[in-house]
Amino acid sequence: MSSVEELRHDCSALFQFIHRITACCQERHGPQAYDKASKEFFEYLRALGDATLRYLDRFADSAPKDSDLYYTYRQELWNLRSNWTILHSFIKPATDADTLQAPTSLLQSLAYRLSTVTGFALVKFAVFHTNDLNYLQLNTNEIRELAQRLVQLFPDGPKFPDHLGLIGFPYSQADALFSNILIAHEMGHYVFQERTNSGALGKLTTEVANAIQNALQPNVASFKPEHVQWCIKTVFSWTQELFCDLFAVQLVGPAYSFAYIELFDLVMILDPAGPSLAHATEFNASHPADALRLREQFRSLKKNGWWAEIKTTKSHYVEVLKKASSIRDKALLPPSHPIGRQTLDAFLAATPDIHGAISETLTGIDLGITEFKQYKRAIADHLVLGVVPSTLVMNGKPKYPGMVALINAGYKFYLEEINDLIDNIDGQDKTSARVRREWTNRLERWILKALEDSHLLSHQEV
């Protein structure tokens, strides 16, 4: 059997491993700054690291002498190492996402808007960079479970902070506004998980389970159990994704759908030849088809009154939404799986319930349509003259538009009037993609600045 001395060696090696990881989230004195949520996340990791290291420091002292028990005891070192290996994977991405390397004012505005939703008054989000061109939310439940596993080893370990979500965004998009609107979808994941934990989505869970049962009912005995399990897992995964889309549409407005179309280049579904549309109708094991997602976003926009406001927007993105709205259920393609069709049917039967769950989740929230109608022209009038639209003068009085009006009027301007802005500037060639990119970049900065100003103007002492 191994000696205590050997165990001390192994503890020391693991101590070094974890110490190096936690050193990366020590408070820095460099130029980087972090928002409160990120700092809270780092504080948690530091406290967790300290507790782990304290535990490791004297771990070998209590090693059992019995050979069998010894290896059971030593197993804890392996557990610690594997848990810290998981944590390791996103510490650097989180430290990279300082306030200069993240769309800070957009995040602040989105979190503030989410805080008006019942049950989410205290919510905050730490952000981290992703290498993939993708947005994601780290499942808070999984992080909490990991934290719980560690705290079981050392009871003096810290509790994972309440109301803290973790969202990843592509490292290259730090100063973007439009593409980062997709962060609202990731906030939806946090809301979905929290409401599931609290039982508030119990009705949806029941309805989805019923839909699965109905879809499989006639032949349920003939399906393999693992196929049924796959079906259940897949329908719930699709349900969560669609929930998040509809959540984002209601939280932000149609700008979410436009950003979605742009990031995934779904303009191709307008191709009359059809192959791209066919591709967009395919479901995969984790996500519903893009065409379905857009169709349901369209339905949500229409139901809540946004569509009437944007349907005349002079943009091919509106045509994409119209095209998606006409896609019929039978045109949607299930993933390749023995019970793929039944799985898709179950999900389609549950989509009205997902809309219902969103309405329930966002009961009482102002969608911002009235404000958008009131301010959209004035916001565009400012942007076309190169002016940040945080204070609008209407009938001689200052008005301060909020996030939904700024983002949606800004996106509408981007789609319809960017040429008018470029026309107002001397020596600019609006046919050049480079020039258009430069002015789009400015436009995004102005709206981000307006979001920052809006927060200040609405929170100042009068």
């Binding site: 800070t104 009038d381 940040v388 500037i425 200040l456 002492e461």
Partner: protein
């Protein structure tokens, strides 16, 4: 003629499309912000700090692009330390749109100036300007000084100009900056050739080409 507080407020009530309109946003604590003949401005959160470069010297050229500069963000509530005898670039928190017939001058607030901090090394603002004002903030004291974004730092004096010029289009280079930006430069030979210096006569050190 320097605009009075009444004239400032009257212009701020005009629609943005009116050439005479003045926009200052966000104008926080609005009642106190407009003085008899000036408008108080606050410090923004973005800065550019000078850095020591690995090259023997800095050549302002097309390739300059902030190679000797470090951009930082200091959120509200945090501070930036400006070492003694150093200069940093900052910007006003307020975005300004000047009317077609008004020039502006930004001055260090007197209370700030008495700490031996000066901001007015490029104080003149032309009609039609729009953007957050870039501030060259110099600590001319012998001690490090702390800057808090959001605090008052300057005052804007506005002057009506006689016989203003109608510009059909805005000049693009500096339209709408919302934080201090790395300045755009031509290469030295491009500038000098315009005044008759032969390209071959312009000596550019090797490191300036890297």
């Amino acid at each position: 003629m320097v605009l009075s507080s009444k004239q400032v407020r009257r212009r701020m009530e005009l629609d943005v499309k009116d050439q005479s309109s003045l926009i200052i946003t966000p104008l926080l604590q609005q009642k106190d912000a407009v003085d008899l003949d000036s408008v108080d401005l606050r410090l923004g959160s973005y800065f550019i700090l000078p850095q020591v470069t690995p090259e023997p010297a800095v050549l302002p050229s097309k390739r300059f692009a902030g190679r000797s500069q470090l951009k930082v963000h200091v959120p509200l509530g945090k501070y930036l330390v400006v070492p003694a005898h150093q200069t940093v670039l900052g910007a006003t928190m307020e975005f300004i749109k000047l009317p077609y017939d008004v020039s502006g001058q930004i001055l260090t607030k007197s209370s700030i100036a008495r700490t031996f901090m000066v901001i007015e090394t490029a104080p003149w603002i032309h009609p039609y300007y729009r953007g957050c004002l870039t501030l060259e903030i110099a600590n001319v004291s012998n001690s490090p000084l702390l800057l808090y974004p959001g605090r008052l730092i300057g005052q804007l004096i506005l002057m009506e100009i006689s016989d203003p010029v109608d510009l059909p289009k805005l000049q693009g280079t500096y339209v709408g900056p919302v934080f201090p930006e790395h300045p755009p430069f031509n290469d030295p030979e491009d500038d000098l050739v315009k005044i008759g210096v032969a390209v071959d006569d312009v000596i550019v050190p090797i490191f300036g080409r890297v």
